[in-house]
């Protein structure tokens, strides 16, 4: 079971036994307009063989925090604080050389847009074989054989001939498979999947998710799955982290977060999912407003300008004080509403709407 849900009212669980453990992560970008506080006080754990789903709107810091784990930010304009520990090794203190040895080997990443993430100038086979040759010292021939094997594993038909194709000769779903093959070629212990299904149509989406689940069962890889699609989360995640404006606003097991969310933002996300069995004239409930600017985030709770339950909180706490991430009704959430208020809103307003 995951430590992050069972720890008793401690927002940041003890480091040590988790495979990946992120503590108080802060990521800041220096831009011409000022400093963007992209990620603030983010802590989470990922255990061996488990899947953590990270949910949030565009710009909520999902990708930024994971690029920080991979060490892929440009050090010239980025400052990263906190700690990121992978299998006992502090990644923020690791040298560029050490990170290069880890990337693509122990930890790897797949990206949203496979067409953009594959170089158009080299064959699929070469791009898959490259990290394998670098990390294992394999020869060109061995690299090619490995690439064919990987393509077969991710379900590309005729891998012996497809290995010499260029990315533009692959369909969208096949490109995503090829990129998964590229990320898994060295049997990484951790895979970060940054919206790998967002650009795909629903059937291919389901195939890719099944593929990731199968591969995880085969090799026991830990997966961080970044998405804004709660339907996908339901399919794949063990634990869920909901992010808003660069902070964690809710954290718990998938069942807890999806079935009994304790945060107005989580309620908003749940209410905005279209349901196939709802009657056609039931309008979707969007979350009002727009995501906040991280150059100048709102005071107090960053969600307060968009929150419909603000008046229920006594005084102007929502504007002045940032709610801590604390245990309420079973899992962690960051909201000034009392646990009783949350529970009653959930059972009286949100759940009926979801099942109507």
């Amino acid at each position: 079971m995951s430590t992050l849900t069972k720890s008793e009212s401690i927002p940041a669980p003890e480091a040590g036994h988790a495979f990946l453990s992120v503590r108080d992560l802060q990521v800041r970008f220096r831009t011409e307009d000022g400093i963007v506080k992209a990620v603030n006080n983010l802590s989470f754990d990922l255990e061996q063989g488990k899947t953590l789903g990270i949910v949030g709107e565009s710009g909520s810091g999902k990708s930024v925090s994971n690029l920080a784990v991979m060490g892929l930010h440009n050090p010239k304009n980025t400052t990263i604080e906190g700690s990121i520990t992978l299998d006992g090794q502090d990644l923020l203190k690791a040298s560029q050389k050490d990170l290069e040895k880890l990337r693509g080997n122990k930890m790897s990443m797949i990206f949203q847009d496979a067409l953009a993430a594959l170089s158009p100038y080299y064959t699929i086979g070469r791009q898959i074989a490259e990290p394998f040759m670098k990390h294992t010292g394999a020869s060109k021939k061995e690299g090619r054989d490995r690439a064919i094997e990987m393509l077969r594993r991710v379900g590309i038909p005729q891998p012996q001939t497809r290995v010499d194709d260029f990315p533009h000769q692959f369909s969208g779903g096949m490109r995503q498979r090829a990129m998964i093959a590229m990320a898994l070629v060295c049997d990484p212990q951790m895979l970060i999947a940054d919206e790998p299904t967002t650009a795909l149509d629903v059937t291919v989406q389901a195939q890719i998710i099944d593929l990731l689940k199968d591969l995880q069962q085969e090799s026991g890889t830990s997966i961080i799955f970044i998405t804004h699609d709660l339907g996908v989360i339901r399919e794949i995640a063990d634990d869920v982290l909901v992010m808003y404006a660069g902070r964690a606003v809710e954290r718990g097991t998938m069942r807890e977060v999806l079935k009994s969310s304790q945060h107005p933002y989580g309620w908003g996300l749940l209410s905005s999912i279209p349901r196939i069995n709802a009657s056609v004239d039931v309008p979707l409930m969007p979350i009002p407003g727009t995501p906040p600017s991280l150059l100048n985030p709102p005071s107090g709770c960053a969600f307060h300008p968009r929150c419909t339950y603000r008046e229920l909180v006594v005084g102007d706490k929502c504007v002045t004080e940032r709610p801590p991430l604390e245990l309420a009704n079973g899992h962690l959430s960051a909201c000034h509403l009392t646990p009783a208020q949350k529970q009653s809103i959930l059972t009286e307003q949100i759940l009926p709407r979801l099942s109507s």
Binding site: L72, L102, S119, P120, E130, P131, A183
Partner: protein, 326 residues
């Protein structure tokens, strides 16, 4: 690929034929009398009449054109001036020689000038651009950009004499620039051409350095660069194998077009340094109103440009696997 080349070659042929026709009629509709121009000092009416007959100037213009055009393939007779073998580009009266022979005599100089100059401007231009991209925003970036800009703003006829005054006259490091066939004296050819090469290349630098800089920066911000780094590839590897590879196709395109231009004769450079190439010939031809010579140089230059255009398009198909040629 073969189909593409054949189609492009046919297209180029049509353009060349049209070009020959257009320039021919344009030149020969000028109110100058080619015979009188060709008949220099001590011209007698008999001689003038003789030249007229030799040059077929008594025939109607369309027939003259036909003589010229067919002469390109089968040769042409110029009366007492003799038979001009194919490819016959006409007769240059001023020098009493066939145009083709003059072009053949001058082309090696242009060729050597073009090869050396192109090698220098490609290396220096791409090098400056790479430095600028590598040190983006730093002093080296600004310096590289400034060098390129100064280069582009300079004129060959200004920089050329200055360089000659310094390296040839004052320092005696180099001999007077001239084209010496490299088969005769490779070292002499090199020392004689190093100034023309360098000075000619200066005006091309900034175009390459700016293009390379922006292309590299654009490439480096691409997703596949980040993905390559996420695979564990080192920064230098990503820089050379991924970013430069992506920047290459547009650079090769510009390079091919510039090659077409320098191979068709660098007029200013050749005149400044007294290199007797195609550009030099063009200036003589215009000065002396040597119509056939002008026409010959023009056709030759156009063919060279068209040829490099085709090469560029073909190269693009080889450099970018997404481009399908056919």
């Amino acid at each position: 690929m073969l189909r593409f080349l054949i189609r492009r070659a046919l297209g180029a042929l049509v353009i060349i034929v049209l070009l020959i026709a257009l320039t021919y009629f344009a030149f020969f509709s000028l109110p100058t009398d080619p015979a009188r121009l060709a008949c220099s000092k001590g011209c007698t009416p008999e001689l003038l009449a003789q030249i007229r007959t030799n040059m077929h100037l008594n025939l109607p213009i369309y027939q003259q054109f036909w003589n010229y055009f067919s002469g390109l393939f089968v040769g042409q007779d110029f009366g007492t001036a003799g038979h001009c073998a194919a490819p016959c580009f006409g007769y240059s009266y001023n020098t009493q020689s066939f145009v083709w022979d003059r072009i053949v005599a001058n082309y090696p100089a242009t060729f050597v000038l073009a090869i050396g100059g192109a090698a220098i401007f490609l290396t220096v231009g791409v090098g400056l651009g790479m430095i600028a991209a590598w040190k983006q925003g730093k002093l080296a970036d600004k310096a590289a950009t400034a060098i390129g800009l100064v280069g582009q703003s300079t004129q060959i006829y200004f920089l050329g004499p200055l360089a000659m005054a310094l390296f040839v006259v004052n320092l005696h490091w180099l001999p007077q620039p001239a084209y010496i066939p490299w088969t005769q004296d490779p070292w002499g050819c090199f020392t004689g051409m190093i100034l023309p090469w360098t000075v000619m290349s200066v005006i091309f630098w900034s175009n390459y350095s700016r293009q390379v800089r922006s292309l590299m920066l654009e490439q480096l911000s691409e997703d596949h660069i980040r993905a390559a780094r996420a695979k564990g590839m080192s920064n230098t590897y990503v820089w050379w194998r991924y970013a430069l590879r992506g920047a290459m196709a547009p650079i090769i395109t510009i390079f091919g077009l510039d090659l077409g231009a320098v191979f068709s004769g660098a007029i200013i450079t050749e005149v400044t340094f007294g290199v007797h190439g195609l550009g030099y010939l063009a200036v003589i031809a215009v000065n002396q109103a040597d119509l056939y010579l002008e026409l010959g140089v023009l056709i030759f230059s156009s063919v060279s440009i068209l040829l490099f255009n085709i090469i560029v398009d073909a190269a693009y198909g080889l450099l970018d696997p997404r481009v399908r040629i056919g």
